[in-house]
Structure formats: C-alpha cells, structure tokens
Symmetry: C2
C-alpha cells in the first residue's frame, strides 16, 4: 500500500478547510482543493461523494459507534440514559479536536448548503438511534420520539460546548443538557 503518498482523504480535508477559511466556501472550487492537495479534481470525487461531504469526515463512523453503544447498554438502563451514555462515551474524541470543531462550525454557520447537510447527518443519527432503541425492545412511538429528543439535546450540548468560555468538556455539557431535558419534559 505504499505506492502513493497516503493520507489522501486527510490531505484533501485539510486543503478544503484551509481554503474555505481563506476565501470562503463558495469562492473555492473543487479543482482548487484538489490542486492544493497535489491531486486532481477527479480524485476528490473518488474520495467524497460531493463538495460538501469533505466537511463531514468521520460522521458515519460516529453514527455507527453510537448505534453500537446504545445497543450494548445495560438492559436496566432507561432509553434516554442509554443514549446519553453512548454520547458521553464518544465525547473524548471531540474534546481533543475542539479547535478544529470551531473552525468547522464557522464555515458551516456561514452557508445554508452546509447546514442542510448537517441536518441530514443529524437526521441519520436520529434514525440510527431509533433503530438501536427498537432492537432494545422499545416500541415505536417511544423509540422515534426519544431518539429525536436525544439528538436535540446532543445538538444543544455541542453548541454549548463550543460556546463555553470555560472550556468545559463535551461530556460535562452533555450531562447538564440531558438534565435540562429531564426537567423540561417534566413541565410538559
């Protein structure tokens, strides 16, 4: 496997993020990204389905991890707690990449196209959690609604994590946000 430099995807991702922050998402062409990474436009499309996808690298594996963790949670744990625990279990990975997450968020916030893709990813996360809860024996309205609420809490926790001037961990914010969810639900 030594034939080419290697780390092609990573190089493309770095080139893309750099160019997006330099001159903006829309003013950057795929050809430019590829050239900066020492590759061609066609090669970019061999690694990413489209231009947006370069900003959502490990999302699919993250979703798979969450689904697995929810499925493997102890049987006596409540559905919501199982999802919460699954999120927290994978939160270290993000804590080590806070700065990259910041840059990514700034790019995403500036472009409707990209936020659209983000919503799609969160929807996929929600559907994966729904499926995992169903295999745990949770019947259907509860599975869907619990998954949706969990994803909403996750999204809110991530936002708080990035905005926190105290640099608290994502796990901490997940904990408090799911507590907020409990409190809010009691008011319904």
């Amino acid at each position: 496997m030594g034939r080419w430099p290697g780390g092609t995807q990573e190089r493309l991702q770095k080139a893309a993020i750099d160019l997006f922050t330099e001159r903006g998402y829309e003013r950057t062409t795929v050809a430019e990204i590829a050239t900066r990474a020492g590759l061609t436009e066609r090669t970019f499309y061999n690694h990413f389905a489209d231009k947006r996808e370069v900003l959502f690298p490990e999302q699919d594996s993250f979703i798979a991890k969450v689904r697995e963790a929810v499925g493997a949670a102890p049987a006596e744990q409540s559905p919501l707690d199982a999802v919460n625990a699954a999120f927290i279990a994978g939160s270290d990975w993000f804590d080590q990449r806070r700065e990259a997450a910041q840059r990514r968020r700034h790019i995403l916030d500036a472009h409707t196209d990209l936020r659209e893709r983000e919503w799609a990813k969160l929807a996929a996360l929600g559907e994966a959690i729904t499926a995992a809860l169903r295999t745990r024996g949770i019947p259907d309205p509860a599975a869907t609604l619990t998954a949706a609420a969990s994803v909403a809490a996750y999204r809110l926790a991530a936002a708080r994590w990035l905005a926190d001037p105290q640099y608290g961990t994502l796990g901490h914010h997940l904990h408090t946000t799911f507590e907020d969810l409990h409190r809010t639900a009691r008011s319904w």
Copy 2:
C-alpha cells in the same frame, strides 16, 4: 396583472411532480419541467431557488403561520400545548391535499437529496418555533428542546396520517401523537 397566463408557479410545480413520478427525479431536467409548463429553464429559476425547491412550495408560509399561532396562543397554555394547537389549527389545509401529499412523499422517499431538503425545512420549522416560544418568555434550554420534540411529533404524526388506511385526519393523528409524547416523556 393579466399579461401572462398566470399561475406560473403552480404550473411549474404540477409539471415537475408529473415528470418526477413519470421518469424519476434525477432523470428529469429543469429544462424539461419548464418546457412542459410552456416556459423556459431560466424562468424556472426566477421562481425557485433550485431544482429541489419546486417540491416545497408553501413550506415557508406554513412556518410563518405556525410561528404566528404559537405567539398568539393563550398565555395560560403550556408551551407544548401551544405548539400542538398551532399545528392542529393548520391541519385542515393538509387534509384537503392528502393525495398530493402522498405523491410528494413517494418522490421524497426515493431521493436522498430531497430528504435532505426536507430535513432542512423541518429544522427551519423548529427554529421558528423556538423563536416563538422565546418571545412567550420560555427560557432557552426549554424553548429549543420543546421545539425539537414538537417537530419530531409533528413528523411522526404526518407519517401516521399518510399511512393510515382509515384516512383519519391529520388533526387526529397530531392529537394522539402528542399524547404519545407526553407518555414517553413521563418515562424519561
């Protein structure tokens, strides 16, 4: 305002839905849609921001209506009930268009691109509800989480409505789905 035939948007929408069901979304070009409507491709883009948007016609006004209704709800009503009532208030409109909604759903289900746009629209709905709840004095974690749960319930209710062999009204399914949400939340 009599200069041109009129109803341009509606003709484009009808042409688009017909062609999408005939030969599929991806195998239909914008030029073909415009030609069937007796117009040109350029005119299509004068009315819709992009090819997908032709399938989401009244979404923006629906969102505006919901926001307004949530804002105008009686003060003693709980946040969740206010949103529920706002949805139900606008549900007749959908009941009169059940068949069109069916066709639309089949097209949407077959294409990731389009479902992505749908998630984006639901996200916009959620943000509008969040804003409306905030103006009602609901503080932030509760506003966001309540809005997200409401949208999830709305989505589930719409799915049940379309799948219901008994042809129950959307209002009915909204009612029962929000009851499910109450029940589920109590289990958290």
